[in-house]
Amino acid sequence: MNATVGVLRRELLIFLGAPVAWVLAVVYLATLMTGFFVVGFPVGDLRLPGFWSGGYAALDALFAWIPLSLCLFVPALTMSSWAGERRLGTDELLFTHPVSIVSLVVGKFLAHWAIVVGLLGAAIVPAAIAVRSLGALDLGVVGAGFFGAVLLAASFVCVGQLASCLVADELAAFLVASLLLFALVGLGLFVRVLPPAIVEVAWYASPVVHYVETAVRGVIDVRDLVYFGTLFAAALTLEVLWLEGRRWR
C-alpha cells in the first residue's frame, strides 16, 4: 500500500511539475468546452447541436465529446508511464526495490486516472453550473454521465498504460494507444457501416456504447459495469504479466 501511494504521489508530482502537462490540460478543457458550447457533436449517428444553438438544458454534447477527446488526451498522458521509465533508465532501479509489480502498476493507474477524472470534473462541473443557471438541468442524468465518464476514463487509462508498457518508445506508445482507442470508439460510432455479422460483437465491444447507456439515459447498468471491469482487469493483468516477464527476457 505504501508503495502504491508512493508511486501515485510521484506520478502526480511529475505531472504537476511539468509545464507541458498544464498546457495539455488547458488545451483539452478548451477543446471540450468549445465542442460543447459552440460546435456540438457532428459525428456518427448521434448528432447533437452545440449548447447555444440547441437551446435545451442538457450536457449531452459534452458527454458525447468525452470518448473521442480521451482517445488523444489519455495516450498523451500515459505514453511515458513505462516507455518514459525505459528511456530514462529508471525502470531498472524501480524494479530492484522490495515491492511487487502490481503495486507499481496500480499506483501509476490511480495517478493517471485521478488526473483524467480531475480534468473531467473541471469540464463537467462548471458546464453543469452554467447550464443549470439557464435552465432545468437534470442533475441525476449529469451524475450518471459523470460516473460513466469516470469508468470510461479508467478503461482508457488501462489501455494507454498497457500500450506504454508493450512498445519501445513514447511516441509509438501514443500512436498505438490512440489507434486502439479510436478503433474501439469507432466500433460504436460507426456500427452501421460494419458487416452485419459482426455488428452485435462490435456493439458490445465498444466502450462508447456502454458509456452512452449511462451518460445519455442516466441509467447505470450492471452489464456496463461488467464490461468496464473486464476491460480494466484484462489490461492491468496483461501489463503486470508483461512487466514480470521482462526479468526473464
Partner: protein, 309 residues
C-alpha cells in the same frame, strides 16, 4: 554475506554470465573487475533482483534472491550504472518516494532522508530538482537512495564513472567508510578505486571468474617484473632479453630515438636483474634504468585478461 553460485544468463545468443561463482564476506569492500561485456553488470542486476538467472543462485544476507520474491530485495541497496534516478523530482521528493518503496513509515522516512542527505553531503541541494544537478551530485543522490533503508549489502555499478577527481575522492572515502559496517560490491574500470577501497577482488572475463582474492594475494600469484631502459645499437634486444634464464615474457614499454624500455616477467627478479646487467656489459648496451618491482593490481588485471584471451 553475498554468495553467487554457478550463475548463468544468456541474452538471445549471447552468453553474458557463464557459471559465475564467488562469495563476499560481511563488512568487506569487494571490487568487481572486468572489461566491457565481461558480465559484471548482468551479475549485479541478478543480485539486485532486476533480472532472473537462467541457472544458478544468489544469496544476499542469507536469503536467496528471486525475482518473484520482492522481500528478498530488502537487504540490498543498488546503484546501477549511469545512476538512473528520477530527474523530474526534487532530491527530497525522490528520496521520500524511495523510502515509501522501502516500506518506511513517515517518521522513518524523515529520519532516513535526513541521515542520507548528511552522509552524501546533499543538504544544500535537498529542494533542487535532480535534473538540474551536476553529474557528481546526481551520483550522490544515487548513493543516497541505495543507502536510504540502511541495507547491510550495497551493490554499486561504476559509482565513480565520469566524475571529476575531487568527486571521485569523495566517493572513494565514502565507500571506505561504508565498508566498515556493510558489505559492498563495487564494479569499476578505475583500478585506483580498487587500490584505495577494496580488500577483495573478483575479476570477470567473458562471463567467467578468472581471479578472486585479496589484491595482495593476487599480486603474489603473479611473476614479478624487471623494468629496463637502455641504449642498444642492435635490433635484437627483445629476443636476447627473452633468451635469459628465468625470463618468462618480455614486452616493449616504449622507445624514443635513443632509448628503449622493456618489462620482463621473471621468476626471480634479483637474479634476472643481475643477468640483464651481465648481458648489457657483454653486448655493449648502456643501461639507463633498471627497476625490480612486485606487480600491481593493474598488471594482474592485464595479465589475467590477456592470458584467457
Amino acid at each position: 554475506m553475498i554468495r553467487v553460485d554457478s550463475l548463468h544468463k544468456t541474452f538471445r545468443d549471447v552468453r553474458a554470465v557463464d557459471g559465475v561463482s564467488f562469495e563476499v564476506a560481511a563488512r568487506t569492500v569487494c571490487a568487481f573487475l572486468g572489461p566491457n561485456g565481461a558480465g559484471k553488470s548482468t551479475t549485479m542486476r541478478i543480485l539486485a533482483g532486476d533480472l532472473a538467472a537462467d541457472a544458478g543462485s544468489v544469496e544476499v544476507a542469507g536469503r536467496r534472491v528471486t525475482p518473484d520474491d520482492p522481500g528478498s530485495r530488502a537487504q540490498l541497496g543498488y546503484l546501477p550504472e549511469n545512476t538512473p534516478v528520477d530527474r523530474r523530482l526534487s532530491v527530497v521528493d525522490y528520496l521520500d518516494f524511495v523510502g515509501r518503496l522501502r516500506g518506511l513509515d513517515r517518521a522513518g522516512r524523515r529520519a532516513a532522508v535526513e541521515r542520507v542527505l548528511g552522509l552524501c553531503s546533499l543538504e544544500d541541494r535537498a529542494r533542487q530538482r535532480i535534473g538540474e544537478l551536476s553529474k557528481g551530485y546526481r551520483q550522490r543522490v544515487g548513493l543516497a537512495q541505495a543507502l536510504l533503508a540502511d541495507p547491510p549489502v550495497l551493490v554499486l555499478d561504476e559509482p565513480t564513472s565520469g566524475l571529476d577527481p575531487a568527486e571521485i575522492a569523495r566517493i572513494r572515502a565514502l565507500v571506505v567508510e561504508l565498508g566498515r559496517t556493510k558489505t559492498v560490491l563495487l564494479s569499476t574500470h578505475v583500478l585506483a578505486d580498487v587500490q584505495d577501497t577494496a580488500t577483495h577482488v573478483v575479476m570477470l572475463r567473458a562471463g567467467r571468474v578468472v581471479a578472486a582474492g585479496s589484491p595482495l594475494d593476487l599480486a603474489d600469484e603473479e611473476a614479478p617484473e624487471v623494468l629496463v631502459t637502455l641504449i642498444a645499437p642492435t635490433p635484437d634486444v627483445e629476443q636476447r632479453l627473452l633468451a635469459l634464464a628465468g625470463v618468462e615474457r618480455v614486452s616493449r614499454r616504449g622507445a624514443d630515438a635513443r632509448r628503449q624500455s622493456f618489462a620482463l616477467e621473471v621468476d626471480d627478479r634479483e637474479r634476472v636483474a643481475g643477468l640483464v646487467l651481465d648481458l648489457a656489459r657483454e653486448a655493449d648496451w648502456r643501461v639507463f634504468e633498471l627497476v625490480q618491482r612486485r606487480v600491481g593490481l593493474e598488471d594482474v588485471f592485464l595479465r589475467r585478461m590477456e592470458s584467457r584471451a
